[in-house]
Point group: C2
Chain length 283, copies 2
């Protein structure tokens, strides 16, 4: 699989690079960004943190705004930031170009419904096609962790919960914890997955965590701001907390006083998340 470099910038002694490539899973051209810390290369491989962004985002938001390169450089972790949906003029979009469905809002599912199922397969893209591409082209090893924000927090938790052993640890900022009971999730799942709510459960972190087995536990850290305007209707961290309590899941959920849903919140606590991953990566 070939990739094309479209930008390079030195950052904290390492490199931030953007690439485009043809995705056979998504049926379109995609862009992703990678941060390679100074430790990577010359025979040395580094672990990878996958970052899944929220609604409307691309590969750029986290790389530009989170302040994560400093920690990735110190700890020796590569960061991969994919886009949040398939892209391109031929890819179907919400009829009103709404921010919360269609392009920029893939919700990290494999769509089963027309006209979405040809392109909206972000679950397979993130879990299989993209890691294969990263492993082929960059000096990384198989040790991976995953994090995300909002819709991407849902994606990170859901993927870790469904794939025990795949990620050494998972963290999320302001995740959509129980999308089957939240307006954003209901709109997306009904369109991508069809009207039967039983088909949605495999993409719901609170439901998945309620059924998790100790052998499949992945250490998890979640931060949520208590001044986040989406907290009550869309994010519902209490559902995740209750699920963890029921199963004994190793979840640390922290309510952060006064913080909102923005990247200022992410930047304020990204150091804790990166060090949490580093610990579970044995760094």
């Amino acid at each position: 699989m070939s990739i094309e470099n479209i930008s390079s910038a030195k950052s904290f002694g390492g490199w931030h690079k953007q690439y485009s490539h043809r995705s056979s899973v998504l049926g379109c051209d995609m862009r992703f960004a990678i941060y390679l810390p100074p430790q990577a290369g010359n025979g040395t491989t580094v672990p990878v943190m996958y970052w899944l962004s929220g609604l409307t985002c691309s590969d750029e938001n986290f790389m530009q705004k989170a302040g994560a390169h400093r920690l990735a450089a110190e700890l020796g972790i590569a960061i991969v930031a994919p886009d949040t949906s398939p892209r391109g003029d031929h890819v179907p979009d919400d009829e009103n170009e709404a921010y919360d469905f269609g392009k920029g809002a893939g919700f990290y599912v494999n769509a089963t419904q027309e006209p979405w199922r040809q392109n909206y397969r972000m679950y397979d893209y993130i879990l299989a096609e993209l890691p294969a591409l990263i492993g082929e082209h960059f000096p990384v090893n198989d040790n991976a962790v995953i994090s995300g924000h909002s819709m991407g927090g849902h994606g990170a938790l859901m993927m870790a919960l469904r794939n025990p052993g795949k990620f050494r640890s998972v963290t999320a900022f302001s995740p959509i914890c129980n999308p089957v009971n939240a307006p954003w999730g209901q709109k997306a799942f009904e369109n991508y997955l069809g009207p039967k709510q039983a088909d949605w459960a495999d993409y719901d972190s609170a439901i998945l965590m309620s059924a998790a087995q100790p052998t499949g536990f992945t250490p998890a850290l979640v931060d949520q701001g208590d001044a986040d305007g989406f907290l009550k209707d869309q994010l519902k961290p209490e559902t995740l907390e209750q699920a963890a309590k029921n199963t004994g899941y190793p979840l640390t959920l922290r309510m952060q006083e006064g913080y909102d849903h923005s990247y200022y919140f992410i930047a304020s606590f990204i150091e804790d998340h990166m060090r949490f991953h580093a610990k579970h990566l044995g760094l």
Copy 2:
């Protein structure tokens, strides 16, 4: 002078806030951002770092991308980020809406030519009107430092050089050091200041530094990436280095290998700049 709050977000225990206000100097409504570290308030005042941004930027670029809040919170320094030009439909702009002149490109001068002289007075705005507004509304003291990037690096150095004692220290990333001999500067100065090159010298840091007196020295730190595409034609740090050599000016100019003109470069070295300021502020 009244100000209107238009956004607030908690960040690293402090607050990032945006305000709009009527500028009598610029004859238009302006927006600025302030970061208030957790130390500020309840009777405690903190010093202020003014950040001047580069071409096309607003109050947002530095606040979102530089990773400076972490250090401001640690050191107890407020950051004020003004816009880069007057704004509004009634404010004249480049006839082709070029990125390097007119709106987003005020060059921190007081224009003397029509139709610019009514609104394009960023020098007076940054040095007088804005600090008065900040002092009136926020828990800051009179200890100020100044920094900037590219066009804003020119602004920061030029203002420190013309106003001995006003700033405890000055730093710049990739500044336009000798604008009278650079295409960006020549275009801006000819339009804002008229065709007589003698009228441009007061806004040229290399010329100002060549004539600086030891009693007016301000400690200065400049970082420049050697992979910056604007280095040779527009930025010309060698002119500043030569001027400092001639006068004994306390300038540290560092060429940083492999870095470009982007905010990834700024983020990589902002810690050095903030600690440089902290030292000269006696923190």
